[in-house]
Amino acid sequence: MVKVTIAQNILAANDTIAHEIQQNLSARAIRTLNIMSSPGAGKTTLLERTIARLRGRLSVGVIEGDVETSADAERIEAVGAQTVQINTRGACHLEAHMIRDALAQIELAGLDLLVIENIGNLVCPAAWNLGEDTRIVVVSTTEGDDKPAKYPQMFAASEVMVVNKLDLLPYVDYDLRKVKRQALAINPHLRIFELSCRTGEGLDAWCEWLITLIQGVHG
């Protein structure tokens, strides 16, 4: 019997494509975000509000990931951003090859920011590199304040956490300090934004941070 060394990551095929995507977008000075959350936390609404507020300041392209329907892509198109809808027809997370194929349908020239809205799922997307620069996990005040501890891999793998639906705090049992404490215990470097897409609270700080993120790319 012969031992053959392989020494290969199991997800190497995905990582290779993700790396190519990252190189391609970096070369064009496009910053890429991967936004993840459970279904209904407010990813699409956050994107709608962000794109509307940054119109004229940033050129944004969006890749929408959903199991079915183009409902989210239609919403984003309505606020004036170039959008491609991926329907996975069953897959619960986006993979790099899907992003690569979607990018072929986007006019990248002139884009400052590419946002990938992942499938609503707090488990699987964390493990799949898409070529993004920054990973953002969105939680909301209606989901219970113990999600970081229950889904640690997602919070460990992200750079930013957005807490949405602040306007509903008076109506839910949600300990905001507990959520932040749990999330920071898993990831002390997590940058946290608290906002309400409905009232606009906190959106200014979020948008200004995005601007500085883009300016970082251009140096």
Binding site: M1, K3, I6, I10, C124, L184
Partner: protein
């Protein structure tokens, strides 16, 4: 999570390597799976056994898994510690300046083959 798809990725990698090495039979595959990788090793083994049985070159290949603990290095006290529940706090000095050094691996280390 996705143990069947992960097992399939392993199969594809070792099939390609087996062709490259002119293997007549793959007898064993060794993996390194981190405690914090999100993969359940029992499920992965089950899926692997089922998939190799479908390929004459791989049939009967034994899967062995090196489990890697989730560990971090504390920059403050210059010591390593075991991470529990993904909490990054050093249990020795209570500081929060650590970096993960192991536990997220998903790797194929080696395989054992016969070439005649």
């Amino acid at each position: 999570m996705h143990e069947l798809a992960i097992a399939q990725s392993i199969i594809e990698a070792i099939e390609a390597k087996a062709v490259e090495c002119n293997a007549t039979s793959v007898k064993g595959v060794r993996l390194k799976i981190g405690e914090a990788s999100g993969v359940v090793t029992d499920s992965l083994s089950f899926c692997f056994e089922m998939l190799v049985s479908l390929n004459p070159v791989l049939a009967g290949a034994q899967l062995s898994i090196d489990d890697v603990p989730h560990r971090a290095y504390c920059r403050h006290c210059d010591k390593e510690f075991a991470i529990t529940n993904f909490v990054a706090q050093c249990p020795i000095c209570q500081e929060w300046s650590s970096e993960v050094i192991s536990g997220t691996e998903l790797q194929i280390i080696e395989m054992e083959i016969e070439t005649s």
